[in-house]
């Protein structure tokens, strides 16, 4: 039964990765840039919900919602100030700017909240579920995380396939020039993508810190990188790909922590990325792009 316990907590961690990976994959698909600062938006979101919940005593659900709204604003602001001027510049410049933004957010958090870890009170108050006479227990956080992740996936897929804005996003990711000609507001669409990504990042931040309750300015860095790895494994630009990649990564990480070595689990996770990129660089559900001269 130990195996199933690890599997479920792996699925829960994987769901968090999947939610973060959505932000990466959508931004990469539409703006063609690697938003390195995504993990740090998550961290900022976690701090905001922490302040509302633990210091101001606001209801957990409401404080997560407030964090989501703040993060949306932060995400759009970052896009406007740092990334928009660089649209059309080479990808190296954009990537380094994103790294700059990531450092900026980390250091803002360091200045405001200090380096001491904060202990995050769980946003979930559901009691753990005991199955098979208590042999397998699933924590409330895991249940909420997995269900929320599935819900977000369904909502996002519906949004993209059924609404005009979602179709505009698909069009921009397909061909930016042509969608401008068709009258799509490209800048608006990209801003919307950042808004959705940052909104989801705040949710992921609250869930992550509920499951692993230490909050520091670098909390978002590692999960951010791993979520990007998940997005690449699933096929970057693909929403179901982010889901599959996230789950694979979370389960692999937890199982290798349990059965191989806690210290080497990160190395194993990153090895999976490297193996994946060597076998199928476009990821599980990604499209292969043929480079034209």
């Amino acid at each position: 039964m130990d195996f199933f316990t690890y599997l479920v907590s792996g699925l829960s961690l994987g769901s968090i990765y999947a939610i973060i990976a959505l932000g990466y994959t959508m931004v990469y698909g539409i703006a063609k840039m690697l938003n390195f600062a995504h993990g740090d938006v998550l961290m900022i979101g976690a701090y905001i919900s922490f302040v509302f919940m633990n210091q101001l005593g606001v209801d957990p659900a409401l404080s997560v919602l407030l964090a989501c709204i703040s993060c949306t604003v932060i995400g759009i602001t970052i896009e406007r100030i740092a990334y928009k001027p660089l649209r059309g510049a080479n990808s190296l410049a954009v990537l380094i700017t994103a790294i700059g933004v990531s450092y900026f957010l980390q250091n803002i958090a360091l200045l405001v909240y200090g380096a001491n870890p904060k202990s995050y009170k769980s946003v979930v108050s559901i009691p753990p579920l005991h199955l098979f006479n208590g042999a397998l227990s699933i924590s409330g956080e895991s249940i909420v995380t997995i269900l929320l992740c599935i819900l977000i996936m369904i909502a996002l897929t519906t949004f993209i396939n059924k609404t005009k804005m979602g179709q505009a996003m698909l069009a921009v990711s397909e061909d930016r020039g042509a969608s401008t000609l068709m009258g799509i507001n490209v800048n608006g669409t990209i801003a919307l993508t950042f808004a959705i990504g940052s909104f989801l990042a705040a949710i992921a931040g609250a869930l992550l810190c509920s499951a692993y309750p230490t909050l520091t300015p670098t909390t978002g860095a590692m999960p951010g990188i791993k979520a990007f790895v998940a997005a690449v494994i699933g096929g970057i630009g693909s929403i179901p790909g982010a889901f599959i990649g996230g789950l694979i990564l979370g389960v692999l990480e937890n199982l290798s922590k349990a059965y191989i070595s806690a210290q080497l689990s990160d190395a194993i996770v990153f090895s999976l990325l490297i193996i994946m990129l060597l076998i199928k660089p476009s990821g599980i559900l990604g499209k292969t792009n043929i480079e034209k001269v």
């Binding site: 250091n107 190395a267 060597l278």
Partner: protein, 366 residues
């Protein structure tokens, strides 16, 4: 022909200026330190200056000259640091010490990091752009993780290696544990000095400057500027990118050797060999100017010195770094700002145009 010769002359004077800059800086520091005018704080920064300069120059070979973004440079530094420190620490245990060991350590460090660079480069360099960046980052983290988990000991039966703990090594009584997992290597001999650092830096620069101007270097630059065009005239992308990548890795390894032998304890922390370190080196390269060797050295020295000078602003240091990074990138790369620069260049051609080309056009005018 005239144009070509002038270009060559300009290149030569640029290269000489780099050497002069380092030699003069070295002479000034040595003169001041002989008179005891250098504070102990500054004294302690001298070797890091060289370490970071070598790292920045070598990363510039990958990012600036070869045009591939690598975020795992600190990983190669880690390889060089650990392999060389294992060697010197074991020699110290055997009772052998001496500066000639440092030379051997440098060769070991450079060789092992270079081999690592080659092995990692073969799969990794098939990828491009952001993917390459993320995979090099992953490799850097893997190297750091393994360095943190490794246990290594020697006894009369040979080398013992484990990823679990010291007991698992199964050493005999005469054995000696060199690497103790997360505690790293303790008691590495202190071989690094400012003089050694400057000599290594000069060697690094000589290799890179010669490489850039050679046929190989021109091929590397051609691949950076237009991969498809370069490949179509028969330049093997894989081969030349691999050359640049593994040479840069070997140099990072040398920097690692210098780093390891400047401290008594060597541990693989996120701070020194992790992704943050790789980014710091990248910042040196970007702010110094991509492809500019002199700029990398100046940026490495100034940005290492700056936080020490601004001790009061310690908290704001990285914040200022990050803002500078964003602003520099926007001002140098944003298409809209580039347009303004073009307008400026057209309005004041005398100020901005290349002097060599100016003369040429004047002659044509006659």
């Amino acid at each position: 022909m005239d144009l070509l010769q002038q270009r060559k002359k300009k290149k030569l004077s640029y290269n000489i200026s780099i050497y002069l800059m380092i030699v003069i800086a070295y002479a000034v520091v040595m003169l001041l330190s002989s008179q005891g005018k250098i504070s102990s704080l500054f004294q302690g920064l001298l070797v890091p200056f060289c370490t970071y300069s070598i790292l920045a120059v070598s990363l510039n070979l990958v990012v600036g000259i070869s045009g591939e973004l690598s975020l795992g440079h600190a990983g190669f530094m880690c390889v060089g640091a650990f392999t060389s420190a294992i060697f010197t620490r074991y020699m110290k245990f055997l009772g052998v010490e001496g500066l000639y060991l440092f030379v051997i350590a440098i060769i070991i460090g450079a060789f092992s990091a270079g081999v690592f660079g080659l092995l990692i480069g073969i799969p990794v360099l098939r990828l491009k752009g952001d993917y390459l960046a993320i995979v090099t980052l992953a490799f850097g983290e893997i190297i750091k993780n393994i360095a943190n988990a490794i246990y290594l000991g020697f006894d009369e039966n040979g080398v013992h290696l484990s990823l679990k703990n010291t007991m698992d090594l199964g050493l005999s009584d005469k054995g000696f544990i060199v690497v103790k997992g997360a505690q790293g290597i303790t008691g590495t001999p202190h071989y690094s000095s400012f003089t050694a650092g400057v000599i290594l830096l000069l060697i690094t620069i000589t290799i890179i400057l010669n490489l850039i101007e050679s046929r190989t270097g021109r091929n590397i630059k051609a691949l950076r500027d237009n991969r498809i065009a370069a490949e179509s005239v028969g330049i093997s992308a894989m081969k030349y990118k691999l050359i640049a990548f593994s040479i840069a890795s070997a140099m990072a390894g040398v920097a690692g050797v210098l780093y390891a032998h400047n401290l008594t304890t060597l541990t693989a922390l996120p701070k020194n060999f992790g992704y943050n370190m790789s980014i710091t080196i990248l910042v040196f390269v970007v702010l110094g100017g991509m492809g500019k060797i002199r700029g990398s050295i100046i940026a490495a020295v100034v940005l290492t010195l700056l936080p020490e000078m601004l001790r009061g602003l310690q908290d704001y240091r990285m914040l200022i770094y990050s803002i500078v990074l964003i602003v520099v990138m926007i001002f140098t790369s944003a298409p809209s700002i580039k347009q303004y620069v073009e307008v400026f260049k057209n309005k004041f051609p005398k100020l901005t145009r290349n002097p060599v080309l100016m003369k040429k056009t004047k002659k044509e005018g006659k």
